[in-house]
Symmetry: D2
Subunit: 277 residues, 4 copies
């Protein structure tokens, strides 16, 4: 028996379906839905975020992403707009009707993030921040759990187990690349993790090709690979002007390239009878 | 300027097309052709190899693989049938009209392998066997160059450069998984290597999902991912009775699963306007 | 210029000396002092902890370690005694006069851990828990910062920079092994990190051979290697009865083996004119 | 039972002692002898090699190293002087009485290298060049088997097994760093490999801190660590003028620094009652 009892497929033959209720309709992740999450790495300002959000909505993105607390390797890097950024994201939700996903780094932010954000993201650096996982287990809010930079599949599923064991069944996994010796790319996407997770677990799995590769030219091919391998969707960075992004510009798609990405994924989803609403 | 001058895309804007002349028709790899190489890990006996070869031919495989010299971690493992195995492969070629790829481990075998094998494979353990690369550079015979277990993209292209620099332009790259900390899978397929190689080089690139994952259930999803990411084809292990294989049974497809693989790849190739003859 | 401005040796030619004031005497780490931290992985009970503490004190250990909040990969594993364990550690300090080091996992525990613990440990899973680092930067309490499981040297020093930049100069680094493909050992000690840190930074560096190797037979040789490479000390796990330990028994030294370790380190310290009080 | 039957300690409780007979005296490796191998990365010219050899002999080095066939990642790098370099090495042996170690890359060179070289080195890239290992197994000549760049301990011992199984008991292992994600150093020395090999096998093990770190400033500390961890010796690069070296200058010790290394190792060897003749 696997050590991740609740995350394990052996517990249930039914794939988890995560529901995100929105005023106009309920959005679903998993069970044959193909989900596209998009947005800039960090919320940098009101106008550009709203503009990007509208564009993404029009193309067909399902969920808006945006960092308001950015975990930065250096204490001297831009760390996000904080609650000011959150207000901008909320405005974008009102404008577009799209749900929001944003990263939580500190249990002390949970109270108000819980109110405003539709999916709470746990970043790769916090995948084993067990006190944070335990708090998220007490809620019913969906959690997007990124794989740690050098986490094994088993450790990742055990991190999910912390949340499930707390009573929150709404866990979405997200492969975002692991650390290897390769230096041409930022990280190495473990594409095999997609079928392996599908084999071991009933939880939905997304792939983030932006953080994983660090190069926008690789984002579309790797996103296509993710869908072809069976992922339940992708999470990509889109910026209206990548060259001026305050963080992760090199890996951000322009709006035009996001359109291409969307079209490619649509075709692949159709091939596997996946629903892309 | 990149250190791999001849392998670099900057040298030429035209993708390499490797031609494999056969009595009935010439087979091509690269430039929009989608190539499927299949066969058992090792040639184990005449009847089973010929039977498998016919089956693969009927489904649509383009090239027959088969190990006759197997690089084995332990000196006590089955190391292949050697020249006896080669005779069986040649018989299969006569029977099916399909070209042969087999691994060369020792420069001293070059003379007769050169005569009988259509593509000489350099395995991952020999990617930096520079004396072998230099000998292969003196020929025109196509070389399938597998990526070393922990080779960077740059080292891999520099290994190709050894062959190109010797005067042999017919190099086909093959991603077969790199070594990471993950223990559920045998290796980790670096799917990003596909678009990266396409960006850096004009050489064709295949993916071997069998060795890379070590689990047959992951072979079809990862093969699909490879094609979706832009690979020029895949190389898979097929065995009529995987449970009885002398090596790599766990990662071998049954003939039935190979048929499914073929159908899936056909659909993906069509989506990207690739030719799968 | 290095991105870790305050942690960088270029800022100052003087090595950091961390002082830990105790009633009887002030203990120092760095600048030629050779420090030995010892204790069980987790505090499991009053009697065994006090007995171990007395033994360690008698042999010559300088600091007592003991986990009261254990970061465990699985939610089902023993997670420490919490505040009950802390009370036992405090009793051991009163009994032995030795300072205490214990891990902090949650910023919300800081208030009372600050009062009772002499060195706050940040575990490898929290090396990039930036909100925790920022809180620790506001104090003057010494922080033992373990290297993340797959952290580069630069990321590690930038994590230290968070604390230094907050205003807390008392950072002690601790190499505890990185994750590699090797499966015989739990992790791989990066012994080169010791001279490299000494070259790049003025901060003291310890090595934890217990977590790094996962095998008690390797602890003494690797601890010796650490001192010979220039480390400012070691941190080891000692358990009165390793076979019955609730966590990490396989890597714990018996009291007798700890005595041998102490004697070996004493000889090596003398060779390099290091002070082992 | 371990898969490396002959390399395994379980086969014999006696450590292997490798004897290298020289006109004046027989040199031994293993069983408590502490051996220092030194020389430039590549033999670059007669005068500088002879001068370096004499210097090394005077300080106390036991064996001269020198590359005459250099495995180079790029086909455009300096690849050694070949047989001309060998003649220079032989002259140095006549001059100093010290035995020679040099790398063999091609089985076709075996005939004459066998005659002239006292220890045949198998480089990390050829650790799994099984046809080479099989040829070396047919001889009695000592073989210095470097660990592959990403080889597990088990694979390494199985490579040794190929040689032992062929009938040649004279295998010396050499840890030279493994590939990890760290970019400040060339490779990561796996110091734990030393006690682990001592635990698993009866074969002697050396450490090469020059290739492993890629930085001369780290060579002395890591060499000390190796001896403290129980290694049977070290293999270091020394160059009369590192800034002008045709390969690996950055990791080469000056003659003065080699003297310091020798003195440090002498003290550590004495501590563990090792013989450094």
């Amino acid at each position: 028996m696997k050590p991740f009892k609740l995350a394990s497929r052996s517990d249930t033959n039914k794939d988890t379906l995560v529901a995100i209720p929105m005023p106009e309709r309920t959005l679903f992740i998993g069970q044959g839905y193909c989900t596209i999450i998009a947005g800039p790495c960090a919320v940098e300002g009101r106008d550009s975020y709203l503009e990007t959000a509208l564009f993404l909505k029009n193309i067909g993105a399902h969920i808006l992403r945006g960092g308001i607390f950015k975990p930065r390797t250096s204490p001297y890097s831009f760390k996000g707009l904080g609650r000011e950024g959150l207000a901008i994201m909320v405005e974008a939700r009102d404008l577009t009707g799209l749900p929001l996903v944003s990263e939580i780094m500190d249990v002390r932010d949970l109270d108000y993030l819980y109110e405003e954000v539709d999916i709470l993201q746990v970043g790769s650096r916090n995948m084993q921040n067990f006190t944070l996982l335990e708090e998220l287990g007490k809620l019913k809010k969906p959690v997007l759990l990124k794989r740690g930079l050098s986490a094994t599949i088993e450790e990742w599923l055990l991190a999910a187990e912390y949340i499930l064991n707390g009573g929150n069944p709404n866990v979405i996994l997200c492969e975002r690349g692991i650390r290897t010796f390769e230096t041409y790319t930022r990280n190495t996407v473990d594409i095999g993790a997609v079928p392996l997770i599908k084999h071991l677990s009933h939880l939905p799995i997304l792939v983030d090709p932006s953080h994983a590769t660090g190069k926008w030219k690789m984002v579309v091919p790797v996103a296509k690979a993710a869908i072809a391998a069976g992922a339940d969707g992708v999470m990509v960075e889109v910026h209206p002007d990548p060259d001026r992004a305050l963080s992760d510009g090199k890996q951000s798609l322009t709006p035009d390239n996001f359109r291409k990405l969307y079209e490619e994924i649509e075709k692949l989803a159709a091939l596997d009878n996946k629903v892309i609403l």
